[in-house]
Every structure is written in C-alpha cells, then in structure tokens.
C-alpha cells in the first residue's frame, strides 16, 4: 500500500520475527497530521465540486449581490415557486454527488487506488477498515493497520461485505405491503405516510443491533422527540456473550462493561467453553493478541489450555484440550477456582476471598462428587492451578456453545477465578480503556413483553425474526404491531412481516461511528455514492420526523455526528486545530482516542448469592447451536464467499450439519451424511450428521446462521437449516438472553441421505510425516537454524532475478479462521462455484486451509495448514505444460499465462500439492450480476485478470501487488523494502501467521522465518536425515507447530475416513 514512510521503515526494522507491530490502547492520543494514503470522501467531493458548498452542517452560502427588493413580477414568481415548493416537499435532501471522470479530478489518477478509512459494521467489535477504491468503486476491504482494535487484520465477514455492497438482491426501492405483497413505493410517500402515523402516536419503538457509537444516542433523541420513553429502544445481538459478560460485570462491579482482553501479556490462558477466536467479543483483536501470546521467543511462549464440550475453532487451537460433559462448564470453573483457592500461594483477601470461601463451602459436596462425574481427577485441577499460579495467567469463560441458563453464572465464576489469579488490570482491563457493551442486557425479553403495545416499530439493521428462537414468538409479535418499518441494508426475515421494507445504506455507503474501547472513537464514512435507491436509516428517521413536524435540529445523520464529535475533539485534546480540520483528519485516519481511566475494580461486590444453585449435570444427549464463525447469526449468509469458505472444523460449505462424536454415531448406527431427526421439547428438525472427533459423546452440535427459507437471498435460500426452532423459550435468569445451548435432545435415524458439501473429504493425515511437523519445546531449544535451500539435485541453476519472492506460514499461529481464503478470493476475483460443484471437488479457492485430525477420536489433536501454490523452484507443473502456459519467473514466482493455456490440466496432475484450479465452467459475471451467484463486474479487482472457461489458475502471490510495489520502488530509485508489499492473505491474517518478502535479502522477515529452527518445506522429506522428499524446493516454507505440552496423544485409534 504505497511507499512506506521513514517511520514505517523504522518500525519494520524494529519488528521481531514474524511479529507484526502491536498497537496499544495505552498509547495516548497523538496530535496527528493526516497521512498521504487515506482520503476523506467529503474532502475529495469538496474539491471536485469546486465552489459548490458541501452539505456539511447544512451551510448554504448566499450568492453575493442578490437583490432582495421585490417587485410585482418577482413577487408572482416567488409566490409561485414557494407554493410549488411547499406542495412538493418540505425537506431538502442533502446534495450527494457522484462525479464522472469527464475531467480527471485532482488526487484521482485512473489505475491508482484511493483508500478510505472507515469502520467495519459487520459486528459490534468496531474494527477499523481501509476501503480500496478504484475509479470510485470499492473493490476491497482491508483492516486499517493503524487501528488499535484489529491492527490491519480483518475477519472473513468484514471483508465479504464488498459482495454485500454490490449484491444484486439488495432492495432497489422502498417497498410497502399490500396484503401479502410488497410493492414499490416512492420515498416521498413513505415519509408522508409514516410522518402522519408518527404524528398520531407516541407508542413508537426502535429495535436495532449492537453499536458502541453515537447511533443509539441518536435513536434515543428520536424517541424523545416523538414522545416515546427511552426504554422503547431495544438493542439486541444474537451473540449473547456481550450481554453475559456485561451483565456479570454489572453484578460484580456495578457497571455493564466488558473487560478489554490483552492475552498477549500473559503466559498461560485457561479457557472454559470459550470461543473468542470464532466470534467472542472482538475476534480479530483476540486473534492478534493470541498470536503475540503464542510467539516463541527464547524458549518462552504462551500456553493455552481449553476445557470444552464441543470442538470449537478456539479449542482446536489450544495446546491442551480437555473434553468435558455438556453443561459441566460451571462445575469445571468452580473446581478450578477451588484448586486455585486452596493453593497455598494464592494471596487474595477481601470480598473475593470471602466469596470464594462461601461458594466453595456451599457447593462442597457437589464439587466433591463432580471429579468422578467429569472423570477429571482432582490432581489434574491442582496441577493446572499450580501452573496458573506460577505463571502469569488468566481465565476466559463462556461462548456461544454455552448460551444456556448458566451463561452469566459462568461469567461470574470466571470473574472470581480471574480475581484469584490477579488477572484484572493485568490482562483484563476494566479500569483502563474498557470495552463498552454494544447492547443492553435483557432488551429482547423486554421487547417481547412490551412490543405488543407498540403502534409503530422501526427494525433497523437487525433480524430478530430469524435470529431468535422461534419459541420466543418474535415473528408473531411483529405481525401484531400495526406498523412495522424494516430498514435493512440487506433484505431479511423482518421484511416478510413488515408494513414497509426500506432499503438502508450499506456500511460502505453510510456515516457512523463506533467506540469499541472507551475513549477510542472510530469513524465510518461513505466511500461510494449509494448504489441503489437506498437511504441511511438515521436519515429516514429524520425525514419522517420532519414530515410529522417534529424536526430534530440536524439536516442529516452526518450533521448529527459532526455535532457530537465536537465532544470527541474536546476529550481527545486535539484543540490546536479548528474543529473542521480535526473532523477531516479523523476521516483520513479513521479513528482517534485517548485512554480513559475509571475506578470500577475497587467497587467489587459480593455476587455469591447469584451462584447459590447449580444446575445438576444432566445425562443424555444435549444440543448446542453455536454461532457460525463465518456468518455469525446469519447476517453474512447471503455472501457467497463466506458460504464457500467452509467451516473451520468440519470444512462444510453451504450446509448445516449435526456434528456427533464418531463413537456415538457408531453406537447409534449412524453414518456420515445420514439424515437424522433431532427432537426436543420445542420442535423437530431433520439434519444430516457429520462425524466430528473431539466432541463429547453426549453432545450434538448444530450451528446456526444458515437455513434462511425466506427471500433473503437466493444464496442463503435453502442453504442449510435453522436449528433455532429446537429451543423452547428459556432464558438466562441473569442476562435474560435466550437459551440456545445445552437442551436435551433425542436423535432418530431416518432413511434419508444428504451429502454435505465438505471441502475436505479425508480428515486423517494417514501417518505421513512431511506434511505437518511438530516440535516440542525441549527439542526446539537445541534446534539449529535451517538451510532449506540446501537440497542436492542435478537440476540446472535457474535464472535469478533481482528478488526471489517467498512466503513463510507459521502453523503454530494459524487458527484456521479462513480470513485469508476470503481475502484471496476477493483480491483475485476467484469465483464461488456453489454447493453442487463443491461436492464434486471443483472449488476455485487459491488458498485452502487443510485440517487434520490425529490420534484418539474422543480427544484428537487438530492441525490447520493453509496451502496455496508453493511456487516451487523445481516446479513439477512447469516441465509438463506443452505450451509454456506456466513458467518460472526469474523472481521465483511460478507464473501462469492464462492466454496461453489450452487446458490440458497436466500441470494440475503433476502438482503434488494439488493447489491448481481449473475453470470447469464459465463463471458468470453478467451485467451487474444478474444472479446472486454471478460476479458483479463492479466488485471485481481491476488489477487481476478474470479467467475464462478452460484455463488453469492458481495463487500468483498477488503478483499485481508485487508489480505495484516494484513500480513505486523504481520511482524512488531503490529496492522494494521488506514489508512494503503484502499479499492479500498475509495482510488480513488475524494471527500474523503469514510472512511474505524477498528471500535474497537475508535480513527480511521471510528469510529469517525460512532459517528458523522450526522451518520446513511441505513434502520436503526429512532433510536432517538426508531425505529431501520431492525436491520441489518450494518458495513457501512452513514453521512447525509447537507442542507446548509434548505429544500427549498416543497414536492408536485412527479417526474415520469418508
């Protein structure tokens, strides 16, 4: 991304191996100069419009020298105009112009991308993004490297929103319901009808998703204006972890905050049912932190122990994993607290001490029995407690597999454990830069109780009709409310029961802000003129208010933000610049912040009363419906790139499965892909089974997020199933969140079969030794530096260019999240092929994540391995192509010439890594993307060729980015500095597992990674013992996994095959 400045270069030099810079919230707000790369939309607009006043602050300059004296004719003219104007409309829409390039605008060079900084709106974590626009069109979303939350990384969902922006199934116009039909209607009519309605009643409510910014404040102002109580704002997220943690802290400390996690400062992390890598509270930030935590440096590295009942992606990344009975998380947490408390070295006093004492006394007999029922001896807990006490440790508890009646209780026990460990204010911050809760706990319950009395309900960017269990009757409630106005950036289930379905702006078209960490404000700005006839939801409310003569004093939501941010300027202390300049500077940079301090920790209260009763361990099969790490509660289900990324653990795409332990399946006589009927007290669901090692034998995991049966999108329509109908109305008594986990379930086999579209068909590594390597800490200590390129062979020496590009992938850090797959697909215009083609094995992704199981079926080890083209120096594919369509580039790239390719597919047969992809079909990209699965030409990256039917393609190491970097380096007359060019997968990797650079430069990070004692080449044999494997000499090297607890799994029982 541009030439790095001297500062950046210095920063790069300071970096340690494989480590990206870790921004810190502790850094105080700096007075900053706008950087050269990021632009503020409105600034460019202002320059373009040349003299036309912008819509900022509604300033409408009077043309000078206007004569105000009125004669008879002028009076008639004015009178006519005024009458016509008042008859037409009373509000003036802000002018938002899109300027075609008839004349080349300043700062806009065709072919040179412009980056806008903004804030991701996919979840409430508030990651900073940079939107790459080419000729005015956003083509890629990347993490903002300066942003303290995500530090340049971004999850798959955030990146996939580029497909959401251009999605052909977005509402094109506002719709009004006539009976069972939704018909197009004019915006003016929407405003007048709703304006009238709002005039008549004050029983108005707003239901929306989570946000930490000014959005909810704005909604409160709207409600106040229409005379509705503040409580009529309902905020709810299906990811209840926010509410659970916030509610637990409300109980414990008196304020609903979420501690800011800094795992990286700790040595030992103990998780109990946590899934912070999947979604958690801020998955990208957590992955970044975990990556730093796991960095191996001089024998020191963080260790992660997980107790869980299902096999989550987070658990798969743990160094030691205990499989526990479903619903026993609370017992396990208490047993751990007990061992900690009984440890002689624990120094804890005050409330925490008395709480622990009373709790352990109350549950003494239950806990004594628990060791036997859990089948984990007390010594194991004691040993772990000792290890925790002896190192810097913290506990993370709860996740979407634990959204049961005890979710908040578990959080409370987690707080207690962390109090005993002294983790607060060391790794978990509630006094220095804590996280705000984006939702108010218990709003859904309140909504269900209060909503039937409402006359008008606005549902804004939220889908309670789909994401709540059917037993909560939200759809029924919505049907009963006379006027439901659904304002969505993408159509969803609420539209089916709403009176009005209004197209809201996409995140990339709207204004907004988030405050992910108290005091750190992140700005959202539009980066493109609205692509459909949509409106910003807040603006719709403003216009409705204006029509009903209850105006708020803002021309639009931007004006509201502009006003609110004055306080941010005051707070951040950037007072030397005028406000407008400050605002624009924030737009360029994306965020501003200053560490805030409070004294919440001191206000600890005794919360042991909430833990008086424990739910007894129930036996029999229990059902868990965790959130899908790709599209969360279903908000990303319409994005084909996510559907095809594949679940990290099962690699299933496009479908919903019921994962069951293979041994349990054998006992029940079930086979892979057999359809079973799950039945609970609330309902029944037929779903195909997937044998998943590592699950507790008594648990069935059926993820939610898929199974839209409405007209949300043809992509999500009939893709998968929604398990939420299986949950009876029950709630966590503390956080009031619905129960979506750990309910008893019965499984009945059917005679039906359904082939799940799994990317990977074989899951066992077949005892092969040079695919994934592992090394334990003692042998790592004595391991020497490697020279992977020393491979004796008889090949002639290849031509060497100025650079030799290479990549290193750290398997110890890779979490398998799939963000790289999404990044690669979007950057390189890789098509999504759909379910049927995935079943045939024709997915097109240039990088795939292989997932292997080893060892015991009940407690397997899990490995993830991203595999892209290895760019072999002695490439088997190059020799066999009859027409020189794939050749070796002097810079070490294995290059494809698409025009030359005739499609013999010999190269793909010859490739031992099977990373080549053939275009079996013409992957359509019709005009504007006529079908949802067609690729919209506007969303294409213009730097990368779109491949035609019948040609081979594969990873190019983002050759377009390399070319750009080399051009820039040429202009400055020097070599491309290390780190100046990043591949798409590397750029977005939330765990810094991928390093890319020049192998000729011995000091580059990739060179050092290639010499690391852990380095090895895929299928490169065992070079220490003289076996060099295939001798393909890849440019991509791997860093082996670290066994922090040694090899703890005996290699006996092989996991099943398909």
């Amino acid at each position: 991304m541009g030439t790095p400045t001297t500062d950046e270069l210095e920063k790069l030099e300071k970096q340690t191996l494989v480590d990206a810079p870790h921004e810190d919230f502790e850094r105080s707000a700096e007075t900053f100069v706008p950087g050269p790369y990021y632009a503020a939309a409105e600034e460019v607009m202002a320059e373009l419009e040349a003299g036309v006043p912008t819509h900022v602050a509604g300033a409408k300059a009077n043309p000078k020298g206007l004569d105000f004296s009125v004669d008879r004719r002028d009076f008639m003219r004015l009178f006519t105009v005024a009458t016509a104007a008042s008859a037409a409309a009373c509000i003036r829409r802000p002018v938002e112009k899109a300027v075609p390039y008839v004349n080349q605008p300043i700062d806009q060079v065709p072919g040179v991308p412009t980056f806008y900084s903004s804030t991701c709106g996919s979840c409430a974590a508030g990651c900073g993004i940079l939107v790459k626009t080419k000729e005015g069109r956003p083509v890629k979303i990347e993490g903002n490297p300066e942003h303290p939350v995500n530090q340049g990384a971004l999850c798959g969902l955030g990146q996939a929103e580029i497909q959401g922006l251009y999605h052909p199934e977005r509402l094109k116009t506002p719709m009004q319901r006539h009976g069972r039909r939704l018909d197009p209607v004019q915006w003016e009519d929407v405003y007048s009808i709703l304006g009238e309605a709002v005039k008549k009643t004050s029983k108005i409510g707003i239901f929306t998703g989570g946000s930490t910014g000014h959005r909810h404040e704005f909604f409160l102002e709207v409600l106040e204006k229409v005379g509705a109580p503040k409580t009529a704002l309902y905020t709810w997220e299906a990811n209840s972890i926010w509410s659970d943690i916030a509610q637990a802290h409300e109980i414990a400390f008196g304020k609903a905050v979420i501690p800011r996690m800094e795992i990286k400062h700790a040595d030992l992390l103990v998780g109990i049912g946590t899934d912070f890598l999947e979604i958690g509270v801020s998955p990208v930030a957590a992955a970044k932190s975990l990556s730093a935590f796991r960095t191996h440096h001089n024998g020191k590295t963080g260790r992660f122990v997980q107790f869980e009942t299902n096999l989550s992606m987070t658990g798969a990344n743990a160094d030691k994993r205990h499989v526990i009975a479903p619903g026993s998380e609370l017992q396990v947490a208490l047993l751990l607290v007990r061992s900690l408390y009984e440890h002689p070295k624990v120094k804890v006093s005050g409330i925490a001490h008395t709480m622990a004492q009373s709790l352990l006394r109350t549950h003494q007999s239950e806990l004594d029995r628990a060791y036997a029922t859990l089948q984990i001896p007390k010594t194991e807990f004691d040993a772990l407690a000792t290890e925790m006490i002896q190192s810097e440790s913290l506990m993370l508890v709860g996740g979407s597999s634990m959204f049961s009646e005890e979710a908040t209780k578990l959080q409370l026990v987690g707080i207690l454990g962390n109090l005993l460990l002294g983790a607060y204010e060391k790794f978990l911050f509630i006094d220095r830069g804590w996280m705000k809760s984006p939702v108010v706990p218990g709003d859904l319950e309140r909504f269900v109780a209060e909503a039937p009395q409402l006359d008008i309900l606005f549902v804004i960017d939220s889908d309670p009709a789909f994401t709540t269990p059917a037993s909560w009757g939200v759809t029924g409630i919505l049907e009963k409310i006379p006027t439901v106005v659904s304002i969505q950036s993408f159509p969803n289930d609420v539209d089916l029961v709403s009176k009005f379905a209004l197209p809201g702006h996409h995140t990339l078209e709207s204004w907004g802000d988030e405050e992910p960490v108290e005091g750190f404000w992140s700005m959202r700005q539009p980066v493109i003129r609205p692509t459909t006839d949509s409106r910003q939801a807040e603006d719709i409310l403003l216009w409705i208010l204006a029509t009903s003569e209850k105006n708020l004093p803002y021309a639009d939501y931007h004006a509201f933000l502009y006003k609110k941010w004055e306080a941010v300027q005051q707070f951040s202390g950037n007072l030397t610049v005028v406000y407008d300049m400050f605002f624009k500077a924030v737009l360029r940079r994306g965020f501003i912040g200053k560490l805030t301090v409070q004294t919440l920790f001191a206000q600890l209260k005794d919360f042991s009363t909430h833990l008086k009763t424990l739910r007894p361990l129930s036996t029999g099969l229990q059902l868990i419906a965790p959130l899908d790490h790709r599209f969360h509660d279903g908000r990303g289900a319409h994005l084909p790139v996510l559907q095809e990324t594949g679940d990290a653990i099962t690699t299933v795409t496009w479908d919903t499965w019921a994962a069951i332990n293979p041994n349990t399946m054998t006992k029940m006589g079930l086979k892979r892909n057999q359809v079973v009927e799950l039945s609970t007290a609330a309902g029944k669901l037929k779903v195909p089974v997937y044998p998943l090692p590592g699950l507790h034998p008594d648990v069935i995991v059926c993820p939610r997020g898929n199974g839209h049966t409405d007209a949300r999108s043809t992509i999500s329509n009939n893709a998968g199933l929604n398990p939420l109908g299986l949950f009876a109305k029950a709630q966590d008594p503390l956080s009031k969140e619905p129960v979506t986990a750990l309910v008893p379930v019965k499984v009945a086999a059917t005679t039906e079969w359904f082939r799940l579209a799994a990317l990977q068909k074989h899951h066992d590594i077949a005892n092969r030794k040079d695919i994934i390597k592992k090394v334990d800490l003692p042998s790592l200590k004595v391991a020497k530096k490697k020279n992977l390129d020393h491979v004796p062979d008889m090949f002639p020496k290849l031509e060497e260019g100025e650079y030799r590009w290479g990549m290193a992938i750290d398997l110890d850090k890779c979490t398998g999240c799939g963000a790289c797959v999404a990044a690669c697909s979007i950057e390189n215009n890789v098509p999504q092929v759909g379910r049927d083609q995935v079943i045939l094995g024709r997915e097109m992704t240039w990088i795939r994540i292989d997932r292997y199981f080893y060892g015991d079926v009940n407690a397997p080890e899990v490995s993830f391995q991203p595999v892209n083209c290895q760019h072999c120096h002695h490439a088997p594919c190059e020799a066999v192509c009859p027409v020189f369509a794939t050749t070796h580039d002097p810079e070490g790239l294995n290059a494809m010439t698409y025009n030359r390719c005739i499609g013999t597919r010999y190269c793909a047969n010859a490739c031992p890594y099977k990373v080549r992809r053939f275009n079996w079909w013409t992957h359509k990209w019709g005009e504007m993307g006529k079908r949802a699965q067609d690729r919209n030409p506007r969303a294409m990256n213009p730097d990368v060729t779109v491949r035609t039917r019948g040609v081979m393609e594969k990873c190019s190491l983002c050759v377009g980015r390399l070319r750009d970097a080399k051009h820039e380096a040429k202009e400055t007359g020097r070599k491309v500095p290390d780190g100046a060019v990043q591949t798409a997968c590397q750029q977005t990797c939330p765990s810094n597992a991928i390093v890319f650079g020049d192998l000729h430069d011995a000091q580059s990070r990739v060179s050092r990674a290639r010499q690391d004692p852990r380095a090895y080449l895929l299928l490169g044999g065992d070079p220490e013992n003289g076996h060099y494997g295939l001798k393909t000499l890849p440019g991509v090297s791997y860093l082996s996994e670290i066994l922090r607890y040694g090899l703890h799994q005996p290699e006996h029982e092989q996991p099943h095959k398909e």
């Binding site: 990977q760 068909k761 074989h762 899951h763 066992d764 590594i765 077949a766 005892n767 092969r768 695919i771 083609q837 045939l840 094995g841 024709r842 997915e843 795939r848 292989d850 997932r851 292997y852 391995q865 595999v867 088997p876 020799a879 066999v880 192509c881 009859p882 027409v883 020189f884 030359r900 390719c901 005739i902 499609g903 013999t904 597919r905 010999y906 793909a908 047969n909 010859a910 031992p912 890594y913 099977k914 080549r916 992809r917 053939f918 275009n919 079996w920 079909w921 013409t922 035609t948 039917r949 019948g950 040609v951 081979m952 299928l1019 295939l1030 393909t1032």
Partner: protein, 447 residues
C-alpha cells in the same frame, strides 16, 4: 507355418474369393455400419455439449483432472499398436501367418490412431486454441512449444507413427489396388489406376517394391516400441505416485500389444464371416494370434506383479499407499476386473482345444479389451484420487458425456473400418499368394 495350414483354397482362388465379398457384402454389414454411425452421432453430440458448456460437463474435478477421456486415448493408441507389430515386426521375422491378417491389422492401426488423436483435442479445456498452440508454429511472441513436456512428445510420436503406418498400409495396398483395377471398367478403372500408381506387376516393380516394403518395415519397427513408451511417459514423467515409475514403457508396450492382438481377433472373426473370407484367414492363423496374445498376457501379468514389488521395495510411502489402495481401496473393483481380464482369462489359451473354440476365444479377446481399458482407467484414476496430501483426496465418477464420447469413439473407429472393408480387400491378396499352395493343374484347363 504355411505348411501347417490346412488350406482348402489355392492362390488361383484368391482374387476371386476376396473381391467377391466387396460386390455384395452380407446384410449384417449394413446393420453394423448403421450402429457405428449412430454411436458416432451420439459421441459428436456429447463433444458438442462439452465444448459448449465446458469441461464441467465431465466428472473430472480436483484432484482427478484426467479420467475416461485420457483412458480412451491410451486405449486407442494401444489398439493402434498391434497392426504395425504384426505387419512390420512379424514381416521382418518372416512369420508367414501374418500375411492373412496384416491388412486388417494395419487398417485397425490407422483408424485406431486417428481415433486416439482426437482425444487430446476432446479433453483439453480450450480446443479452439489447442490445435494451434500445440504446433511449433513461428509467432510474434517468440513463444515456442515446450519440448520438455511429454504431451509435446506425444504430438510428435503419434503423428510420426500415424504417417509411417499410413505409408506402410498404403504401400501394401498398391498391388491389390492394381488387381482391382484390372477387374473393373469405366471411371472406376481410372480411379484405381491412379490409386495404384500404374502398377503393372513387372519384375522390376516387384523388386523395388519388396526393397521399399522391407525398408518401411524396418523403419516402423522402432516406432512400435517408441509410441507407447512415449505415451507411458505422459504418466511416468510426472511425480504422481503410481505413475512415476521406470517400468512404465515396457509395461505399456506389452499391454498395447496384448490389447492390439485381442482387438485384431475380435475384429477379424466377424469380418471374416461378413466378407466370406473363411477360406483365406484360416483357424491356424488365428491360433498364432492367440498364442501371441497369451504371451503378452503373461508379460503384462509379470509387469503388474513387478509394479507392486517395486512400489513396496522402494520404501516410498506415497507409492506404496497408492498400490495398496489399488488392490483393496475404493477402486479395487477396477483393479480386479483388470487382473481377471488381462491375466486370468487369457490363460484359457494354453489349451489347444479352447483356442480352437472361436466362441470362447472371441469372448476372452473381448474381455481382454475390456481389461485393457480398465487397466488404463485404473492407472489414471486410482493414482490421482489419493496422492500426497490427504486433504486434497477426492473421488471421480464419469458422467454420461464422457461415456457418450467413449461410445462415439467406437462409432468413429468402426465407421471408418467398415467403410474401408466395403471398398478395399481386407486380406492382402498379393501377400496371401506367397503363402498359399499353388493350384493343382486341372486337366480341362491346361494351356
């Protein structure tokens, strides 16, 4: 050899006996031709569909990038082998029994190679540029073809083989064409005269002819071995376990001869009946063919065995895993069909009694052809489905498009062969005369 043949005809019956069939073939000829054309049309439609919609219409996928179509290619190249073996190598060895079947074997060779040559075009992703870029034509980009690629070697090997086979075949036809010319009048005479290059059968012509024929036979002999060796390199030169082995060239050549001999038998038996050639293609000739089949079958069986041994002995876990899976894995069915058809059923030919039973021999030869098709399918598919990285392992099932094209290739082959049989003598009249007994002078016909 000819001494052992119980001839009931003499050389004076040759021209009349062979050419009579051309006047009015058996009605079953038209049935056979109609079926062949129908199959050809089906194949053409399937190929048209494949070109229109893409290779996705086949069952190919990642990792099985080659399947039935390449199987067909190797199968037809293999079939195209026996002809030249019989006509050239056996000619040099002076195996006289070849003279009765060499014409049909050569015709089979030419049409089989033409059929095989279609498959590289059928199976590429972009046929509309393939023919152009596979040829070493000068171009402004200065991009040459890749002479390192075995597929390129294929292009040269097969085109050379086809050229030499065509020449050899046509050269053998010349005296026969002259004989035919002598029996017809009108425009046909002009055409045959042109086609036989004005052959008069003078001693001088025969002298040059024999020298040239022998020379071409010598030239064709190494090609018999090279073509299938080069085809085997398509596989052996890649690193794919199950393919990457030095045994492939002789193994493929032996297999090709086996399939070719079996195919000649399968073709000659019905054609002999259709064109009433029983008097000229005697059971003793076919018996020799069956012995050759038996010999190559044992070589092939040995190759199968040694392949397993090498895979085990190499200590290469990837290689050994492929072979284990071939025998007992998901594609074991194909493997055992192959073993049964190519190694076990031909053992029937040890028995003289069974060799004399045409029905049994026909069925066994047919099964050998099936087995050889399965051998190629087995080598190609079972090696590709599960290779180095278990995560990339897959599955392959051909679609009806591929099966339709396979059917079409048989249609294409038989259409050409039947048209040839309709107009040209299926037995080399001039060469047959060399091995047949001279006519006994009949009292009434003395000069």
């Amino acid at each position: 050899m000819s001494d052992l043949v119980a001839w009931d005809k003499t050389i004076s019956d040759v021209n009349e006996g062979i050419l009579v069939g051309l006047k009015k073939p058996h009605p079953s000829f038209y049935v056979a031709l109609s079926i062949s054309v129908l199959c050809l049309i089906i194949g053409a439609i399937c190929w048209a569909i494949e070109i229109t919609y893409g290779m996705g219409t086949t069952g190919l996928n990642n990792p099985v990038y080659w399947g039935v179509l390449i199987t067909d290619f190797v199968f037809w190249v293999g079939i195209g082998h026996a002809g030249t073996l019989i006509s050239a190598i056996l000619f040099l060895f002076r195996a006289k029994w070849r003279n009765s079947i060499n014409r049909s074997a050569e015709a089979m060779t030419v049409f089989a190679v033409i059929t095989a040559g279609l498959f590289p075009l059928i199976h590429v992703g972009r046929v509309w540029v393939a023919a152009y870029w596979m040829l070493p034509l000068p171009n402004t980009n200065n991009v040459w073809v890749n002479f390192r690629s075995p597929l390129m070697w294929d292009v040269f090997a097969i085109s050379t083989y086809l050229t030499v086979s065509l020449l050899f075949w046509y050269m053998g036809l010349v005296p026969d064409l002259a004989s035919m010319r002598d029996r017809v009048t009108g425009y046909k005479r002009i055409v045959f005269n042109f086609m036989s290059f004005g052959w008069t059968g003078s001693l001088r012509q025969w002298h040059h002819y024999e020298a040239g024929y022998g020379f071409l036979a010598a030239l064709a002999t190494p090609l018999v071995l090279s073509v299938h060796s080069i085809v085997s390199w398509d596989f052996a030169m890649s690193m794919q376990p199950g393919w990457h082995t030095t045994i492939f060239p002789p193994y493929f050549v032996a297999g090709a001869i086996l399939s070719g001999c079996a195919m000649v038998y399968t073709l000659v038996l019905p054609l002999r009946w259709m064109f009433r050639l029983e008097g000229f293609i005697r059971k003793e000739h076919l018996d020799c063919l069956l012995k050759l089949t038996l010999l190559t079958s044992t070589i092939v069986a040995y190759a199968y065995g040694i392949e397993f041994f090498v895979a085990w002995y190499s200590g290469n876990e990837y290689e050994w895993a492929i072979f284990q899976k071939r025998a007992v894995g998901p594609y074991a069915f194909y493997f055992w069909v192959m073993v049964a058809c190519n190694c076990i059923f031909p053992m029937a030919f040890w028995s003289r009694r069974l060799r004399a039973n045409t029905a049994v021999c026909f069925i066994v030869c047919l099964l050998v052809n099936v087995g050889m098709w399965f051998e190629r399918y087995n080598i190609i598919v079972s090696s590709l489905v599960e290779d180095f990285l278990p995560s990339a392992w897959g599955h392959y099932e051909p679609t009806w498009i591929e099966m339709g094209i396979t059917l079409g290739s048989f249609g294409w082959f038989f259409t050409w062969l039947l048209i040839f049989c309709r107009f040209f003598p299926l037995v080399s009249m001039s060469e047959l005369k060399l091995i047949m007994p001279k006519p006994l002078r009949k009292k009434s016909e003395g000069h």
